[in-house]
């Protein structure tokens, strides 16, 4: 007996009991739908978390803190940073040093017409590249460029816009990104950071203190990247040693004294790990020194743990309805066998092998599962679409609805495939018992009964 014949026999048998078949299929549709949609909510949560997290920051970066000044925890000085940098899988470790004392402003233009309050941070010169600060133009800082008179710096992509015009008042004193003139032509910032001369000048604490002035040498312009922070947008990045030297000069010029200045450690450093999967391990190693850490990865881990739990609960709820569907398939098949006892007997007498009879019933049950699953998945995609479309509105009304990212329900292809596979398997499995029953029917009894 050919597979195609078996298939058409099974199909025909389902078709002739349309009403009952459709009811049973609806059961499977509901079951498949509830599992797929439930799981899709969980997946959407995960996707949402990732969207959220990747907006917040770099997944392979760990921030290490030492706020407390706890004496049992080793000082987080340059020596220590080197130690942390030597941990396996660490690409680079660097402070992003914000000077405590140094106070000043950027100036440019004739008679210091343009001024800017820009954040200036110190970094290990080679670390900027390793931390993946992208450059729009120029090159990274190098060790060698530390000497010389000018201060080599990296500036943010839009640092130019932080300058204001001291000769003007109101809006015209500012320039901002995307600003256009009356005709719609874009307006450049007052200062072109790459061409114009820019000076860093310190404030005087008291009238007779000395004002220090340095010319900046912009060696590169960083690409704005929110994940890396504001510094890539409108900040200034400088060699760590250089910024410390400036700070000391400033302290001397303004009579500031701090006996501990050279002894203290950093309160915050950044560690870059080679791969997301190693972040957890590195973070653990750092924690063993007693430092506190923060990383997007550990945050992500927490969130995923949560959503895994929720997915499990939701999936379990869905599974209950698919189980009910399985019972109804078994019931339908058993009914069919009672009705078709005579037919089965005739087939046996005409030489149909037992295996084929079993296969016929398994196929029927499997078809119910498959068709139910297929329709269920189509309906799931529709539901998912509706949820995503109306989700944001609903969320206002019902706080319960989990929605973290831009979507409320996400059905990846693998979930659809799995749903279909699962429903078909459920169908076949629920057909096993009825099929065995059909096989056991005595041909003679069957054809005898009127």
């Amino acid at each position: 007996m050919k597979i195609s014949d078996l298939l058409s026999l099974s199909f025909e048998n389902l078709r002739r009991r349309k009403g009952r078949t459709i009811l049973t299929i609806i059961g499977v549709v509901v079951g498949t739908c509830s599992i797929v949609v439930m799981v899709s909510l969980g997946i959407a949560m995960n996707v949402g978390f990732d969207e959220m997290i990747s907006e917040w920051g770099d997944l392979t970066q760990i921030q290490v803190y030492n706020w407390t000044g706890n004496t049992e925890v080793p000082k987080l000085d340059d020596e220590m940073v080197k130690t942390l940098a030597s941990i396996e899988h660490v690409k680079v470790a660097t402070p992003l040093y914000r000077p405590q004392y140094l106070n000043g402003q950027l100036f440019a233009g004739k008679n210091d017409r343009y001024q800017a309050y820009a954040e200036i941070l110190g970094i290990y010169p080679e670390a900027a590249q390793e931390l993946e600060y992208q450059l729009v133009s120029g090159k990274y800082l190098t060790e060698a460029s530390t000497s010389g008179k000018k201060l080599p710096v990296l500036v943010g992509q839009y640092t130019g816009y932080s300058f204001t015009d001291t000769k003007k008042r109101g809006d015209s004193a500012y320039r901002w990104q995307g600003q256009t003139d009356a005709r719609g032509n874009p307006l450049d910032p007052f200062v072109d950071v790459e061409k114009d001369k820019i000076y860093f000048k310190t404030y005087k604490n008291e009238e007779n203190d000395e004002q220090l002035s340095y010319e900046l040498d912009v060696v590169g312009v960083m690409l704005e990247d929110y994940k890396k922070g504001y510094i890539t947008s409108q900040g200034v990045l400088m060699d760590l040693d250089l910024i410390k030297k400036l700070e000391k000069e400033y302290m001397r010029a303004n009579g500031i004294k701090d006996a501990n200045y050279d002894k203290q450690g950093y309160s915050e450093i950044y560690v870059k790990v080679d791969d997301v999967d190693n972040v957890e391990q590195v973070e653990k190693a750092i924690k063993e020194y007693g430092y506190e850490t923060y990383s997007m990865s550990s945050e992500r881990e927490n969130m995923q743990e949560q959503s895994r739990m929720i997915q499990l609960i939701l999936g379990g709820l869905g599974a209950v309805s698919l189980f009910v569907a399985a019972l109804s398939i078994a019931n339908t098949m058993t009914m069919a066998i009672y009705e078709r006892t005579r037919e089965i007997g005739v087939m046996k007498v005409l030489g149909c092998k037992l295996g084929k009879i079993r296969q016929m019933f398994l196929l029927e049950a499997g078809m119910i599962g498959f068709v139910g699953g297929l329709v269920g998945i189509i309906v799931s995609y529709l539901l998912s679409f509706v949820l995503n479309y109306f989700g944001p509105m609903l969320q206002g009304a019902i706080m319960m609805l989990p929605m973290y990212g831009s979507k409320m329900s996400v059905i990846p292809l693998w979930l659809a495939a799995l749903g279909l596979l699962f429903s078909t398997a459920i169908g076949v499995v629920s057909g096993i018992m009825p099929a065995n029953r059909a096989v056991k029917i005595s041909a003679l009894e069957a054809i005898r009964h009127e």
Partner: protein, 295 residues
């Protein structure tokens, strides 16, 4: 072709034992038409079921074409039935959802014959049974006689070595019985098929080569007919062509020879000898030889 040795079948219902078959031994040759007759409850159906392997004997064995079917398991039996056996049932047993064509093609489907080929064969077989125009009809859309002709076509379509029939005309009126019986006769002679038929009407046995009479599970008589009647005809007094089933849409092979009597083929010829046959029923051996002479 078929060998039966010391066949016994005992049914137990509660504490009671019913000996449905009691030590039956017989042998049937190839192409033989064997009628099993006997009173109700004499064990005819039981014997047929044993011969066809539908039930296991309590003791003894049945061998068909050299293969001992009493020792086969269900799957071997199914394979054997596919190859060698055909069945005609009293209650037709057509699958209600299938058309006549599909019903006839069913045994071929189990054999794995491709759809086109088996439908062609089935159609030919249905044409032989005069049902060329009922190919697409479902059983519920056909009369009992037509349904039984579909059942016969189904039994013959695979040209099996042996066909078993348990009261194939039991549900048909006498006029339809004539047509159905003659259709069967023609086919078994054409294909040299061994045909075993159970009936409780001795009239029907006139065309058989062999008549086995059972009583209480034993063989009462085992008669060989030297010159069986070639075709079955109606008993006298029942001849009325107006009562014939006119659904035969075309003649099977032969031409009508008698235009006044609207019967087909051999029936048409034999109608004239109705009287002789009537006599023959009282004495089958003699009657049949007379019937031959009458021709």
């Amino acid at each position: 072709m078929i060998k039966v040795k010391h066949l016994r079948k005992v049914y137990r219902t509660g504490k009671e034992k019913v000996r449905a078959l009691d030590d039956i031994s017989l042998e049937l040759g190839k192409g033989e038409f064997c009628c099993i007759v006997g009173a109700s409850g004499s064990g005819k159906s039981t014997l047929l079921n044993q011969l066809a392997g539908l039930e296991k004997p309590t003791r003894g064995s049945v061998t068909i074409d050299g293969e001992n079917i009493s020792e086969m398991n269900e799957n071997q039996l199914a394979a054997f039935r596919q190859k060698k056996l055909g069945f005609v049932f009293q209650s037709y047993n057509l699958l209600p959802t299938m058309t006549a064509l599909e019903n006839v093609a069913l045994p071929l489907m189990f054999k794995g014959v491709p759809r086109k080929k088996r439908e062609k064969l089935a159609k030919e077989q249905l044409k032989k049974m005069g049902l060329g125009k009922r190919v697409r009809h479902k059983p519920t859309e056909m009369s009992g006689g037509q349904q039984q002709r579909v059942g016969i076509a189904r039994a013959f379509v695979g040209k099996p070595a042996v066909i078993f029939a348990d009261e194939p005309t039991g549900n048909l009126d006498s006029h339809t019985t004539v047509q159905v019986m003659n259709a069967i006769l023609e086919l078994i002679r054409e294909y040299q098929i061994t045909f075993v038929m159970v009936t409780h009407e001795r009239d029907l046995a006139v065309c058989a080569d062999r008549i086995i009479t059972l009583r209480d599970g034993k063989v009462l008589r085992d008669e060989r007919i030297e010159h069986p009647q070639k075709a079955y005809i109606l008993p006298e007094g029942e001849q009325d062509s107006d009562l014939d089933d006119h659904s035969w849409d075309e003649e099977p092979d032969k031409k009508k020879t008698d235009t006044t009597v609207e019967l087909i083929g051999q029936i048409g010829q034999t109608v004239h000898r109705a009287k002789t046959v009537q006599e023959s029923q009282n004495n089958p051996n003699e009657g049949n030889s007379k019937g031959e002479q009458g021709k």
